[in-house]
Symmetry: D2
Subunit: 287 residues, 4 copies
């Protein structure tokens, strides 16, 4: 398939490389050309401007946040320039309101819009092992299906409205935040009775909380990674996406509100650039 | 082994039956004799008074709460009557302070005290499929080992101080409460974008939150059981055990504090006797 | 003095009228001309466009919110058109970041900027009985002094940086929100022991909580006004201004976070357009 | 009047002295005799045992907490020994459940019981300037009226059920706690914009938050007293009385829950014996 690809951060590069390996033809754009080098060497074509990626069946975008999407797709008029044949496949995480707005603008422009945010780290992207949550018009989803097969180990179709995929990603990351918070609190509590956190973690993850998220984030609290791939500051952004989405539809999210304040306190104490899981360490230290 | 057994609620009956099946000799006591009938028919001996269970190597107690322990073991002087050869194996969940107090009283009386609270429902008790968290003096734990093998599918030795087992159980149940709360909030949030809770649950439990606790409590929110085995009111008690333990050692547990208030609000709206997971339904209804 | 006046809502009209009465010459602008009628009849001059108000010593603006300020002053280029001799006196409540941005833009344009948000209802505006919190360059504040005397019963100089006045207003309104929340909780609590809220209010406001805010908001909970002058929805906006300001400087505001969720829950139950104090009624009803 | 007086802490001594000055005859008891010395020198009679205070029209008790009341009045059988003519006037702060229990026990014993907790510091006790909240049977309240006139500058009759006075005291102290918490948060917020807390305090207490509680606790945050008369640890106890009362009647008190956790965190950082208001300092320090 002929694919445009916008946004070559760590995740984007891994995904684009995977698509090249699967035989797709890519024209790529990134704000700065540096990160494209490896992909160009493997056969991707460089686009001088985002518009040049539009001449494809699908344009995947994997931009950092709402502000980047606003700049590249909206303020520049890129959406309006999208042809009717084009499907904009947004695999980045954006806010609920941005998700709604993009869908509406594409509808007005006559082009198709699919939201398909992913779960997974850069290495999963490279290996095609992402979990993908997709939503959008049925025919557009169908067109994207083969790409999902290449990029992910699993994909979920959560509805015809693109923003439904965004809310699933947002709600799931909120649940992740509650896991970090609750592990921090529980570790602090058992620690005061001289039960080491690793033993507590071992017990709960070999019984009813036997899930990758508990194992992974629990371990990261116990042995903080020296090279955080996802800093606490970005964790806060995820919690704020949940709060913003909830405010839009008047849903109280008291846990998210509490956890947001915990992030702020941790950031005020210098944890902003540490690994997200170290929110747990801050909670323990504070106790 | 010759075993005394005090407290024949649903859990206690299942466990006592399992021990009988394994060939142990039981003398049982319960506040009201009714629940003992089945066990007596299977060979257990009835004790008219708790003291009569003391003439054994081990006395297992499985009483409902701190108040019952206080009445049966402390106010009655039962601890002091325990012989040096006796091991009091308390498999019920008690507060951290009660755990500490019993250990100290047994130490003073010269008898051994082991705390070994369990995870699992009555059917797991009947089938010897409990998860057991044990703590106490090494030799006493060793004596209890064979019983743990009979009663559980797994057991964990968390230390020489009995209360260490209590705090692990308390902290784990607190984490369970955060799971219910966070599922309720997340379901409320995705529901406003017409994503059904079962689909959200399916997605998170087939990816990084693939744990029995999420599956089980998630399902119970989606399809509330008609015969709750563990009512919300008891869930509140667990959260309060966590808060009380945390207060003893000056550990802030902000999530537990928030969740306690949610329980109170749910109880004020008539959810006290519903299944614990319906805290989630109350959260959804409120949104 | 020759004064421009932008923004003729209830507060703005009252303030502008008071200035006319004091003998000042006003050129007024409002998005829709209707609200200006009364002022024009009393001698004010109508400006067809905001720019026409710039030809004065001082332009007071009293716009509804950040979005209105963004549209009228920033997107339109009004700030850049301000002459060096002009003082923009912003008496409306804006966010901390908007406060900082306006100050910086005026500095770049060479014009003066003073922030002077007010406490008080429309009738206080009409009667010159506002409380005014002002900040900005010393000479600009001095120029505005006589206007503060006319408009307020008191004014406070809180510093040379305009945003200092904004943060004081924001923090004070946050404290107001905690008063409503705490009264709601306290009324709910005493009510369960058949102590009527009016009696509790009478006791605390005749002893150590003898403050207008407790009396006023307490009474509004007990006897909700039929014509709310300040709806709950706007109260939420104030709490969000506090949370946004706090996030900018990494200050945890756990009470504000909790109260925000309470507002959302109340709004979800149809309280959005009721008087702000009815947050208290919602809390009582929920208990 | 002939009065028994039990409990000679700082508050009790001040009150007893005031009663002596007003010409009443006092027989006093305290766990340790030391604090009674000054009163004996002024004419009070020493009671070797609490029972000896019962031979009076009224016995005022001013014991430290529920545990002391339990020991002196309940476990000792003092309530049952009370004659029908006796009025037990409990001016200390006890929990809602203790308040209910004492009323019921006195009713069973045929004696009268009045709860009349007070607001004020030791110096107010000495000067008869307390604020008194009283509840109990009408005739018993009438008998106590003259004592209230001597001890207080004001007294409030809040109902015929003694525990109604307890809940008013508890709810009022909870509101006090929210004042300290909100001042701490607000000071932290304005401080980040270089607005000194004393200026913020001056502004809010000269406008709508013009109440002794804001002035007093605000000042204590700004200039912590070297000799705390009411340590943070006791503040926590007050918040816990509110939470316990609320749990009894299924009232959610989310602010109290949050503030309890803040106290625990502050205590974990060594603030337990500092002045209650320093909860605010801890919040500022943490930001």
């Amino acid at each position: 398939m002929r694919i445009g690809f916008i946004g070559l951060g760590q995740m984007g590069r891994g995904m684009a490389g995977r698509l090249l390996d699967a035989g797709h033809m890519l024209s790529v754009w990134n704000r700065s050309p540096g990160p494209a080098a490896g992909l160009l060497a493997r056969g991707a074509r460089w686009s001088e401007r985002p518009e040049q990626t539009l001449d494809n069946e699908v344009v995947i975008s994997m931009l950092a946040d709402d502000a980047a999407v606003q700049a590249v797709w909206i303020d520049s008029g890129l959406v309006q320039k999208s042809a009717a044949a084009l499907t904009h496949l947004n695999m980045a995480s954006v806010s609920l309101s941005m998700g709604r707005q993009l869908a509406q603008m594409h509808r007005a422009a006559g082009s198709a819009y699919v939201a398909a945010p992913v779960f997974g780290r850069p290495e999963s992207a490279t290996q095609g092992q992402l979990d993908i949550v997709a939503a959008g018009p049925a025919d557009a989803l169908e067109r994207c299906g083969p790409l999902f097969e290449t990029l992910g180990r699993r994909w979920f179709n959560v509805g015809h409205e693109a923003h439904q995929a965004n809310i699933v990603k947002i709600a799931r990351n909120f649940v992740l935040a509650t896991i970090i918070e609750s592990l921090g609190e529980a570790f602090a509590l058992v620690g005061k009775s001289s039960v080491p956190p690793e033993q507590f973690l071992d017990i709960i993850t070999s019984t009813s909380m036997n899930a990758p998220a508990y194992k992974d984030y629990g371990r990261r609290i116990i042995a903080p990674p020296t090279n955080p791939t996802f800093p606490l500051r970005l964790g806060l952004k995820d919690v704020e996406l949940a709060l913003a989405a909830a405010a839009e539809c008047a849903v109280p999210l008291p846990s998210a509100a509490l956890i947001r304040e915990q992030h702020l306190a941790a950031i005020a104490h210098g944890y902003g650039d540490k690994d997200w899981a170290q929110l747990g360490n801050w909670i323990i230290e504070r106790a």
